[in-house]
């Protein structure tokens, strides 16, 4: 199985190189499909804790090993990455440039490496490797007016975060004397005196990526400027790098510091939920609205993690995955809408329900999932978050109340969006637009099916997450 683990990382990179070389998007789709298969078969023949692991010495003097491992926490995220990578390649293969497909595959490969890395130096290198291809996606294929500014802002925020994170990682490596992620976690993390410093450095790095208020300001710009597939990967994969890092790496290697800093993190998350919700209520542009809603959803994830309880961490991981399915779907739909109507302004839209019923139906479904309708994936993570926060008592009850208020805000702004886009009389921009094609529906339906499945039966995933190494 070690070979399959390597294949899950190597296939996207190989596909990226070949797609770029031969200028054929088809190769990219094939590589992404193979990578999805490779990730999907990983649960076969698994051991306790770490299912499978491979390790090769690369540069022992800087403690860099090519060490990959997979467990119940990283596998769902790797699967999500592979699925979204394939869907993006499929989406792009119909219309877009092969170079964009190659860049998407590079993002996918590097992100998979982040999720599977079992060596902290390798983790850092993979984290950095995501930056350039994503920068190129936004800069080269983004919205004409804003792409340069947005791409630059994305790159600078990300690199600042990742280098601070690296400082924290290396401080942990120096303190524990090993760079194996699993080893450090098994040893109970770094020693008490440096724990808070390490956690703060790591948390700043991951909070930029997640993003946690007030370090989120790159995200709305990047999302608005990025092409549809770029937004999908940003929301579905790149934000997950931040939350995965926060939960697994920061929480795992500096548990004492995490406990000490938890109130601050939780307060920031709660503020983020409310601020993002209020911004969304006044937001006139659909992609920007979805981007800000990501800030709110990630606030839930971080708040759940900050509670530090087992239920809280599980809620964080679940909400993380749910967001990784729902928000990419919303971005696919918003992208489809924007290419048809050539506008994303809510004021210029309306009556989609009659003009393109299938598209409007999917948008309604995704919005309801995002606002946490019971029975869909978005519900469980946020409900458990409020529960986990309230369960800790004291001031945490106030945070739970704020989060619950945030959930109401979520409902308000998403329903407002639906009112503007789907209902009412047909706006001029919407008149005569073509409905959803079979190809589009094929790209969207796996996400919708997964949202429904997780919503109806969250148990298996919650059990899986509980087996992870944390």
């Amino acid at each position: 199985m070690g070979l399959i683990l390597i294949a899950a990382v190597a296939l996207p990179f190989a596909g990226a190189a070949l797609t770029w070389w031969l200028r054929r998007s088809g190769i990219g789709v094939a590589a992404a499909a193979l990578a999805l298969v490779a990730v999907a078969v990983l649960p076969a023949g698994r051991d306790e804790r770490w299912w499978h692991a491979v390790e090769f010495a690369w540069a022992p003097l800087i403690r860099l090993d090519f060490a990959l491992a997979v467990d119940g926490v990283s596998w769902p995220l790797a699967l999500l990455t592979a699925l979204l990578g394939l869907l993006c390649c499929l989406h792009n293969a119909r219309t877009g440039s092969p170079v964009l497909t190659a860049l998407l595959l590079a993002v996918q490969g590097a992100s998979t490496a982040v999720f599977l890395a079992d060596n902290l130096v390798l983790f850092f290198i993979a984290f950095e490797a995501v930056l350039l291809p994503m920068w190129a996606v936004i800069h080269r294929y983004g919205d004409e007016a804003t792409r340069r500014h947005a791409a630059g802002k994305f790159a600078l925020f990300t690199v600042a975060g990742s280098l601070l994170m690296a400082t924290g990682l290396f401080a942990a490596v120096a303190d524990t004397g090993t760079a194996g992620l699993g080893d450090v976690i098994a040893a109970g993390g770094v020693s008490e005196p440096v724990s808070l410093a390490v956690f703060v450095l790591l948390a700043i790095g991951f909070a930029v990526k997640a993003p946690l208020w007030p370090l989120h300001s790159w995200l709305p710009d990047a999302h608005t400027a990025a092409p549809t597939v770029g937004s999908v990967l940003l929301a579905g994969v790149l934000l997950k790098l931040g939350t995965y890092g926060l939960i697994r790496v920061a929480g795992g290697i500096a548990p004492d510091g995490a406990a000490e800093a938890a109130p601050v993190i939780a307060a920031l998350a709660a503020v983020g939920i409310i601020v993002a919700g209020l911004v969304c209520l006044a937001q006139p542009e659909i992609k920007r609205l979805i981007a800000y809603s990501s800030v709110a959803h990630m606030g839930f994830v971080v708040l759940a993690f900050a509670t530090g309880t087992e239920a809280g961490v599980r809620a964080a991981l679940f909400a993380n995955l749910a967001h990784g399915l729902i928000t990419p779907l919303l971005f696919f739909l918003a992208g489809a809408l924007k290419t048809r109507t050539r506008t994303g302004q809510l004021a210029e839209l309306g009556g989609l329900r009659t003009a393109a019923p299938a598209l409007a139906g999917m948008l309604g479904f995704a919005a309801l999932a995002s606002l946490g309708l019971p029975g869909l994936a978005g519900f469980w993570g946020e409900a458990f978050t409020v529960y986990a926060a309230a369960d800790r008592g004291g001031a945490w009850i106030a945070l739970a109340a704020i989060a619950a208020l945030g959930a109401f805000l979520t409902a308000a702004y998403l329903l407002r969006m639906l009112k503007h886009v789907s209902h009412g009389p047909q706006a001029a921009a919407v008149e005569g637009i073509p409905g959803a094609t079979a190809g589009e529906l094929a790209v969207w339906s796996p996400l919708a099916a997964a949202v429904l499945a997780l919503g109806l039966a969250p148990g298996p995933l919650l059990d899986l997450l509980a087996t992870g190494v944390l």
Binding site: W58, A59, P60, L61, I62, R63, L64, A110, V121, F124, I125, A126, E128, A129, L131, L132, W135, H139, R140, G152, A155, L156, V159, A160, L163, L164, A166, T167, G168, L169, F170, A171, V173, A174, D175, A197, L201
Partner: protein
Amino acid sequence: MAAQTIDHAALLPLYLAAATAAVALFAGRAARAVLTAGLSASGAAALWLLAGPTRATFAVGERHSFVADDAAMGLAALFAGLTVLVAAVSGRRSAEYCFLLAVSAAGGITLAAGRDLITLLVAVETLTVPLYVLVAKPGRTGAEAGVTFLIASIASSATALMGAALLYAASGSVHLAGLGALADGHPGLAAAGTALLLGGLGFKLAAAPLHAWAPLVLERAPLPIAAYLASASKLGGAVAVIWVVHFGLAEGAGAAAGIVLAVLAVASIAVGNLGALAQRRTVGLLAWSGIAHAGYLLAPLGALSAAAGRDDAAGAASAALAYAVFFVLLEAGAFASLTAVRERDGGAIADLGGLWRTAPGAATVFLIAVIGLAGLPPALAGTFAKVAVLEWLASAAVWLAVVVVAGAVVGLAYYLRLARTVLLGRGAVSRRRFGLAVLAAGAALAAVSLAPQLVLEFTSLSR
């Protein structure tokens, strides 16, 4: 009285380089071939010594002035290789040109193995003096470059010599290993000597505050010589500083040296990055950012005092040396590919617009080098360099790590601009020359990206 025995095998790379210089001077049109063959032999001899046991010679008691250990021989091979690369991108030149380059390389090889203050300073001068002639192109701007370099160089040499003299007065030894006695000597004398010596050597490295010559000279010098100044000559400065600190000052005057180096590092990072942000010319940008890189390189040494008494205290020097080697390889790649596509000078950044389409080979090497200087994958050589420095700083002085991070973030802003121009801009009129040299530089970068142990192993120092 018995004459001192000399281990001639240890000196073989130096003999070969010196002989190359002598032969090249009289070789006429074959001078470049002589230089390439001779320095390749010198580099091969260095690699042979690297594979064998450590040799040392010119001993006074237990202390040797010339030590051909792994680090020295690896660096000697690197000096020889960089000089061959510069000669390869120089085109047709006179025999004197090749003679001067070979002399400079011999200085670099001596520097790598030198272990006393006099050998080090003489080696630095041997490395630098030939460049007085080489930097000066005919014409007014060439003369300006030559005079600037001459005056800055002489002033800093005098400063370094003064520092060395004070250290000798304080410790009674010119051997680096004997500088441990500084701890018992006059503290003021030791501190003044340390500051003067490191400040003077910082000139070669173009570290602030003695950095101002670098952008001016690099911009006005012929491009191949700019490549030499930015790679081999800079490596010389780095090695001199690291040797003095690691073998000498760390023991007896670690605290003073740490403070001086931390100041130099922070100043270089700030000045270099801010200067580079404002640049519109390619060589100017690389020169100013090179000042910032000198700061990153010195930063681990600046955390020296935090390392006192630790069993991995040599890690500071190892990190700095590893950074220096990765960095000069990236600089060499950037300048070699730039030389290959530009006729006379580096030109404005905008002149490189769309180079990716008109000269894909050279543009690829240039992009890898620039992205590596920014420290990002897929140019892993730069990432490893950054990892080496940050790993040490994270364990010794987190505040310096944060300074390095801040510098790298600013650096990304201008490196991305450069990369974007090469990839997406328009209008590059380029020549394609020196394909083999550019390919060799690219291959070297690819090799150290995939197998960083090649560099990390010989740059790993011990006491």
